[in-house]
């Protein structure tokens, strides 16, 4: 059944939500204590959402590196410049593809599970129980997941990049028989650590924060029903993917 929503609420609704989401962020940040139990909780979540995403990130990274080299060599061959492949792969990977693809994969792998988990906690009264025990659920549930994402997405991005370079090596040197010395020297001279690599990792930290903020907020505010949790999970993937791409453009155009 489609609910009829007045026109004005179609505009005020999302604005209101965005404001609520920001308040949620500030309440989370206000809860940072660096206490032993909090650090332990963050480490635990880093394992659960970061380390558990390793396999998918590594496999995807490897194949992205392969296909990137394949396309690059095809295109560069026409100008007789196929020995530039490592430069092309490296630049596009470190600056854009690594951070963005890792973030999108992370939204699908970890963002959804965060939303579903918190939504189910809401549906089974666990969040209400915490409030009644005078425990702040935002600090206890949302903050560790948020912090763990901000820590793990840059690390996952770095790993994605490394696997993609490995994939590129396998394809360019192993399959296409390019010279490995040229491959490495182009990579070394053409890629700048700070500008290309660190710039991308910075972006990915922002992506990690964006995805996890949306994931915890949608989970926390999900309707406590099966359908409500389902909708919240879908919304998390859709909105965080879109925002990652929008923020990517904004940050790239301002920072470089």
């Amino acid at each position: 059944m489609q609910e009829h929503i007045p026109f004005i609420q179609r505009i005020t609704g999302p604005v209101n939500q965005a404001g609520q989401c920001l308040i949620f962020l500030f309440r989370m940040l206000a809860g940072i204590r660096f206490s032993g139990s909090q650090i332990l909780a963050v480490l635990q979540q880093t394992y659960l959402i970061g380390a558990r995403s390793l396999v998918i990130i590594m496999i995807c990274g490897f194949f992205v590196g392969m296909v990137l080299s394949l396309q690059a060599i095809n295109a560069l061959e026409q100008f007789g410049a196929s020995d530039q492949v490592s430069l092309l792969v490296g630049k596009s990977l470190f600056r854009e593809l690594g951070p963005v693809l890792t973030a999108l994969l992370f939204a699908g792998r970890a963002g959804t599970s965060i939303t579903a988990e918190i939504g189910l906690m809401r549906a089974t009264n666990q969040i209400e129980a915490m409030e009644l025990m005078a425990i702040d659920p935002i600090q206890r549930i949302a903050l560790p997941r948020f912090a763990a994402s901000v820590i793990s997405v840059p690390l996952l991005t770095a790993l994605f990049n490394a696997m993609a370079i490995l994939g590129s090596i396998v394809f360019s040197i192993g399959v296409m028989d390019l010279d490995s010395g040229i491959f490495w020297s182009k990579l070394q001279t053409g890629i700048y650590f700070e500008k290309d690599f660190i710039g991308g990792v910075w972006k990915s930290a922002v992506f990690g924060g964006t995805i996890s903020l949306i994931a915890v907020y949608f989970g926390y505010s999900a309707k406590p029903t099966g359908a409500g949790v389902g909708t919240a999970t879908t919304n998390t993937v859709v909105l965080s993917s879109v925002l990652v791409l929008i923020f990517d453009f904004i940050m790239t155009s301002f920072l470089t």
Binding site: A129, M133, A134
Partner: protein
């Protein structure tokens, strides 16, 4: 420290006093003009049809909701005008058992029960361990502390939740449908636990339920809430022979009576002949 507060409390004063309580959700009046005095040491039930506002009363007492009019006093303190911070401190005097127990699914049984202790006290680990184990064996479940909540049966989970609710030695216990979905043996176990704990520790217990038979065996006093008012009150034995049509309808589960079968949405009257 907790004990000194308890000792200062006058035992003749009611534990909870509610005056002229009005609560509205949007334009719909959920509760209208409720007055209650709940004596210390008693077990009191709120009964009534689903959606009558029983759980709402519980939430007004725990301070999760604030009344539109009227006052709620717990242990002589005005809940309805406390700030969030005061409320957070005050909630430590409550033990709460929610529907389905609401155990934290990502923690072991031990950590579940230890959570309130870790959050609100700075007791050493050995003492926390001893307290948790004693509460766990008090509910008859010694030896399951390393299990996860999903490995427990419904009755066991409810007992663990009970142990968690009493681990900080509360003054007041709030139960929201504590027996729903349990088998008859588990129901009796929970009922016995509720009564024994209440009498041994001198608590005041409030129970929201619609299980008429079980409540008659457990509670001292009973409020029936229907159509946003108190439809009847009294000890369960008196209520079951009440001649009041609303009370009679609820206690004996009749379809016909003053509590309507049709839900009446607010606003436009709904009718088949329109």
């Amino acid at each position: 420290m907790e004990d000194s507060i308890t000792n200062r409390l006058d035992s003749s004063e009611p534990a909870i006093r509610i005056r002229d309580l009005v609560f509205k959700r949007g334009r719909k009046t959920i509760l209208d003009g409720i007055n209650m005095d709940i004596p210390r040491g008693s077990i009191v039930a709120f009964m009534g049809p689903s959606g009558a506002g029983k759980t709402t009363i519980l939430r007004l007492i725990s301070g999760q909701l604030r009344p539109n009019e009227g006052t709620v006093e717990v242990n002589g303190q005005l809940i309805s005008s406390m700030s969030d911070r005061e409320l957070r401190l005050f909630r430590r005097t409550f033990g709460v058992l929610l529907q389905d127990g609401a155990l934290f699914t990502d923690l072991t049984v031990f950590e579940n029960i230890a959570t309130p202790l870790r959050e609100h006290t700075s007791l050493p680990e050995t003492l926390i361990r001893r307290l948790v184990m004693s509460k766990l064996s008090a509910v008859g479940l010694g030896g399951i502390e390393e299990r996860m909540p999903h490995e427990l049966s419904g009755g066991m989970a409810r007992r663990v939740a009970f142990a968690r609710a009493v681990v900080l030695d509360p003054d007041i216990m709030l139960y929201d449908e504590p027996m729903t979905g349990l088998d008859p043996i588990a129901v009796s176990t929970i009922r016995t636990l509720m009564r024994d704990t209440n009498d041994a520790l001198g608590l005041t217990s409030l129970v929201v339920t619609h299980n008429v038979n079980q409540m008659s065996l457990l509670v001292d006093y009973c409020y029936i809430i229907a159509s946003s008012k108190i439809a009847g009150e009294g000890p369960p034995a008196e209520l079951s022979i009440s001649t009041d049509p609303g009370v009679d309808q609820f206690m004996n589960g009749k379809v016909e009576g003053p509590i309507p079968f049709h839900y009446e949405p607010p606003g436009e009257p709904w009718g088949l002949l329109d």
